[in-house]
């Protein structure tokens, strides 16, 4: 078995009272370590389901998830998960919010507390550890949420539309922050988004999914011919719009061919 995270023929069928819906069909992919990988696709195509399956929150109907050769299908392992909003607990201070994951995982000790405190200090939140979430800006809250995820020291990070709740300006700043933190901490990130420019600006690879049932349409390797790439400066590159055009086209042909369609089993 190879190192890293591997999805092996993952399928997911949802049941409700009226029908069965095949959300994901035979998804296989090996995520290489250290990469920032985005998954884009039409809305409702099962992108978020994919993250839930990787994180172990949901079980696939068939197929397996491997992490460093170990079968982790349906198990919550040490993979960090960032949700669509910060979801900080309003009654806890910044510091105690960051400790939440450590507490729940029974990993709270002097060493991990110090690690969390160092993360807060390194990423500009040292002066805010005793503040409450209501006293922070949207961008800072998102940073706290990221540090809460990093505090348990996961090697993989899942980002589920993690910036969709922010306004445009904050979003650009936070994207930049998060990208830098993830790269600095040498994490492998898998991000689900419907924002094509955002995915291009952050990713090393972009997986384009089809409409339901989701299959991989294409994988784009994203490289820019500039030193010290950041999500902000790469937006100026000529390659940026080239990537945008081809991904945009792929997503749109998909919608036309499957017009109004949801494939149903049975």
């Amino acid at each position: 078995m190879q190192d890293g995270l591997m999805l092996d023929h993952i399928s997911k069928v949802y049941q409700d009272d009226n029908s069965e819906v095949l959300a994901i069909k035979e998804f296989s992919y090996a995520f290489s370590k250290g990469d920032f990988i985005s998954i884009v696709g039409p809305s409702g195509c099962g992108k978020s389901t994919l993250l839930s399956i990787i994180s172990g929150l949901e079980k696939p109907t068939s197929g397996k998830v491997f992490l460093d050769g170990e079968d982790i299908t349906g198990k919550v392992s040490n993979i960090g998960y960032m949700l669509q909003k910060d979801y900080l607990l309003s009654w806890r201070t910044v510091y105690r919010n960051v400790l939440l994951g450590l507490e729940i995982k029974n990993m709270l000790n002097e060493e991990t507390k110090e690690y969390a405190m160092n993360l807060l200090k390194t990423y500009g939140l040292g002066d805010f550890i005793n503040k409450y979430p209501s006293q922070l800006s949207g961008g800072m809250k998102q940073r706290v949420a990221l540090i809460r995820t990093l505090a348990t020291n996961p090697s993989y990070l899942l980002l589920d539309e993690a910036f969709s709740a922010l306004d445009y300006q904050t979003r650009l700043d936070v994207t930049n922050d998060v990208y830098n933190i993830i790269k600095k901490e040498h994490k492998t990130a898998i991000m689900v988004t419907h924002d094509i420019p955002e995915s291009i600006s952050m990713s090393d690879k972009i997986i384009v999914l089809s409409n339901r049932p989701s299959i991989i349409k294409n994988v784009h390797g994203i490289t820019f011919n500039i030193p010290n790439r950041t999500p902000l400066n790469c937006r100026e590159c000529p390659e940026f719009s080239k990537y945008f055009d081809s991904i945009w086209k792929e997503l749109n042909t998909d919608e036309r061919s499957n017009f109004g369609g949801q494939e149903r089993v049975s």
């Binding site: 994180s55 172990g56 929150l57 919550v76 960090g80 998960y81 949700l83 669509q84 909003k85 979801y87 607990l89 009654w91 806890r92 201070t93 105690r96 400790l99 939440l100 994951g101 507490e103 729940i104 995982k105 709270l108 409450y132 348990t152």
Partner: protein
């Protein structure tokens, strides 16, 4: 730090302050006008003081506490109310937590809770007296019966309405059910608990007074019934007024408790 205040702002602030003071003064004025008018009309024989009593006679009744044991009765009512309130809040919250724990049980018990909730609990009075004996126990059970079901329903609704995303967040750290309850669901519902307490302190008092009406041994409820039967309206009025003051003070005690609980929760150490 010195703040520069513009003339407009000064005007706005002082206007607001004046209005606040005016409201308070009017409230005090109404109270005194009512007391004065009551006393005046009774003295002028426009009201029959035998059936309406009057403020000076109320004051005399209070001063006469050694013979009428007013404070003993006050204490009995207070004690029963507090015990009923504490038991109702505590047992109600525990039952709501258990029902949250088992979605199956909460679905099963839902219709029963709704029937019990709609039933006027005072109707259970005679049964309670037969079962618990005509004494303090029956009165406390009465207070409990009135506040318990409301607490269960309110707390359960609060627990079930906890932000699903916060629970999902805990799941991403592989939280077990106990951790989800203690770290997410319960803290999210401290304000629900405080609201339940504010309602319960009043409901508990209703239960105690109706219990004392039925048991008729001690307490302000007993004094009211007794005073009515022997036409001592002074005693009835005094008891009602003291009851009103007591209810207001207990409500404020819960408000103070709210502040203490919130401060404690925010400051809790890891």
């Amino acid at each position: 730090m010195k703040e520069v205040i513009s003339a407009d702002r000064k005007e706005f602030l002082s206007k607001k302050k004046r209005r606040k003071r005016l409201i308070l003064l009017t409230q005090i004025f109404i109270l005194f006008a009512f007391i004065f008018l009551w006393e005046f009309l009774a003295n002028e024989k426009i009201l029959n003081e035998f059936i309406t009593s009057k403020p000076s006679r109320v004051v005399n009744t209070i001063l006469d506490f050694k013979t009428n044991h007013l404070f003993m009765h006050l204490w009995v009512t207070l004690y029963e109310t507090l015990i009923g309130f504490l038991l109702g809040t505590l047992i109600g919250t525990v039952i709501a937590s258990l029902l949250w724990w088992s979605p199956f049980a909460s679905r099963v018990f839902e219709p029963y809770l709704i029937v019990l909730h709609s039933l006027p609990k005072v109707a259970l009075g005679p049964i309670i007296i037969v079962w618990a004996g005509a004494g303090t126990n029956a009165i406390i059970v009465m207070a409990l019966a009135i506040s318990l079901i409301v607490t269960i329903l309110e707390m359960l609704n609060g627990f079930l309405a906890t932000d699903k995303n916060l629970i999902k967040l805990a799941h991403t750290f592989n939280a077990n059910k106990w951790q989800i309850f203690t770290k997410i669901v319960f803290p999210s519902n401290v304000s629900t608990l405080i609201n339940a307490m504010k309602v319960n302190i009043g409901l508990s008092l209703v239960g105690v007074i109706s219990g004392e009406f039925l048991v008729s041994k001690a307490g302000l409820g007993y004094l009211i019934v007794y005073g009515g039967q022997v036409f001592k309206l002074d005693l009835v009025m005094t008891s009602v007024i003291i009851l009103g003051i007591m209810a207001a003070l207990m409500y404020h005690a819960v408000v103070i408790l709210e502040k203490i609980i919130l401060r404690w929760m925010m400051k809790a150490e890891v």
